[in-house]
């Protein structure tokens, strides 16, 4: 089971028009959507998404302690298998459970689940499950309430999540052996230790919802979902309406810049623009005395940070433009107000860029579930394999999606994500501006941001797939 690890796994072919024309068509769709929103969407509709409860019996089951324990136990079990297989298995990223599970199934697979079903990761979050279990044991042993944790500092906001996601992106895209099973296992252990310290200081729930990088990441996507929870009741709301509160915490703007910037850098990594530039930057670091490998890693780190800075700058350009139309809102208020519109864009980037990787590499988990350490009879690296479920030699079906179909899906994701972002920004503008005229004029700038992000996304995809 050795296959190409590059994210743009398939090449594109048989397109009826040049790929740049898809970019122009997407921009046109955005302009038409903008006009339609201005004419047909005169009142805010997403600021209060409504709440229609599902049958109480269903809520009782879904939110029961038994379900919480089972889901938490599954999460902890998978965390354990990841560390164990990463440290003890074959050190090939594509042939070990740890790398495939963390970098593909977990990182990419939980995103669509969150968008459809809501915040499922919260239920399976292994760190939260362990934290709650430890608190329960300590409380039982002490026969009384535990000392209250420190109050989570407001100014810390999502900043720990920014650091966590940036560290993950660095492991995945910068470190030369970052995708190696042992690296993944060690990173998992280090991240677990940092998370437990944070939970011990500030409480399990406060840290899980505000600071734990993956919890924050998947929660943002889950706000697109029509499913939500209110108290002890599960219910339905308007899709996208859960995003109306995004942006209230410090650090959310850089968090989304890291989310979009890291995917952009992953895409541009295969473009001639970067492959031509990277050796020069690495040469600069080499001249400073770094080894060849470290110089290359330093160059990639510079590239990753630059991509994040460009995304951040791009968004702030749109915010500055929206500020220039007038009104009493400060730049910071506008930056936070329009931030929900960036979440569907982040989703579009992730979905479009990684669809082929998830559909192809994700299949490997069937094989690796039977043989987590990766020692297979079919594997040239050894023959000590296990076959727990009889799927250890399950082949990858590369016909699951054709190259051309993948391209159309990618374009569809990009356009749909940006139209959704435009709708969210329009809805927010109607809510925060006193005059409808200012609300519409502020959106000219957000339209420019959306068209810019759309063009960038399709250009990156063309680079990856071309």
């Amino acid at each position: 089971m050795i296959f190409e690890i590059a994210h743009g796994i398939v090449g594109r072919k048989d397109l009826p028009i040049p790929d740049w024309l898809f970019g122009w068509a997407a921009a046109l769709v955005l302009v038409v959507s903008f006009v339609a929103l201005a004419l047909l969407w005169p009142e805010p509709r997403l600021q209060d998404g409504g709440f229609r409860p599902l049958p109480r019996r269903l809520s009782r089951v879904l939110l029961s302690r038994a379900v919480a324990v089972v889901c938490g136990a599954i999460g902890v079990f998978l965390l354990g298998v990841t560390v164990w297989s990463g440290l003890n298995g074959v050190q090939v990223a594509t042939a070990n459970f740890a790398s495939v599970f963390v970098l593909v199934v977990f990182w990419l697979g939980v995103v669509p689940l969150s968008v459809v079903f809501g915040d499922v990761f919260r239920a399976f979050n292994p760190w939260r499950a362990i934290g709650r279990a430890v608190a329960w044991v300590a409380q039982t042993a002490a026969r009384g309430p535990l000392p209250a944790p420190l109050r989570y500092p407001e100014r810390l906001g999502h900043w720990p999540g920014v650091v966590g996601l940036l560290a993950f992106a660095t492991l995945e895209l910068v470190a030369s052996s970052g995708d190696q099973p042992e690296s993944v296992a060690i990173a998992t252990l280090v991240y677990s230790a940092a998370t437990f310290v944070g939970m011990a200081l500030f409480g399990v729930e406060a840290w899980s919802t505000r600071a734990e990088a993956f919890g924050v990441y998947f929660n943002l996507f889950s706000r697109i979902s029509p499913f939500t929870r209110r108290g002890d009741q599960v219910g339905l709301r308007r899709p996208l309406s859960g995003l109306s509160e995004v942006g209230s915490l410090p650090g959310t703007v850089p968090l989304l810049a890291v989310m979009i910037g890291s995917v952009s850098f992953d895409g541009i990594g295969e473009a001639p623009l970067w492959t031509g530039m990277a050796p020069d930057i690495a040469g600069f670091f080499g001249d400073l005395g770094l080894s060849q490998q470290m110089a290359l890693e330093a160059a990639f780190l510079v590239g990753l940070l630059a991509a994040i800075a460009i995304v951040l700058g791009f968004y702030m350009l749109g915010v500055a433009g929206a500020r220039s139309v007038g009104g009493r809102l400060s730049t910071r208020q506008i930056a936070r107000a329009f931030l929900p519109s960036m979440v569907p864009i982040a989703l579009a980037y992730v979905a479009a860029h990684y669809i082929t990787e998830l559909l192809y590499r994700g299949q490997a988990i069937v094989e690796l579930s039977s043989s987590p350490l990766g020692y297979l009879a079919s594997n040239p690296l050894g023959d000590e394999g296990t076959d727990l479920f009889g799927t250890a030699n399950e082949p990858i079906d590369y016909g699951v999606i054709s190259a051309t179909a993948a391209w159309y899906y990618q374009v569809g994701f990009v356009v749909a994500g940006h139209v959704a972002g435009l709708a969210l920004a329009h809805d927010k503008a109607l809510a925060i501006y006193d005059e409808a005229r200012l609300a519409v004029r502020s959106q000219y700038w957000m339209l420019a941001v959306m068209v810019g992000f759309t063009s960038l996304a399709l250009w990156l995809l063309a680079q990856s797939n071309g």
Partner: protein, 52 residues
């Protein structure tokens, strides 16, 4: 050693530039309309001062 003129490879980068055109066009339009709006506001402000 001979160096190729950059235009010989224009096919590589010109396609990249084509992607940016809708965004660039939108930005130019935005800058122009913003400038016009500011001039209009400045003119109206001047007239109001004269009226006073």
């Amino acid at each position: 050693m001979t160096t190729l003129p950059p235009l010989a490879h224009s096919g590589h980068w010109i396609l990249d530039v084509v992607y940016v055109l809708p965004f660039a066009g939108l930005l130019i339009w935005l800058f122009v309309t913003t400038l016009r709006e500011r001039r209009r506001q400045a003119r109206e402000g001047g007239r109001e001062e004269q009226d006073l």
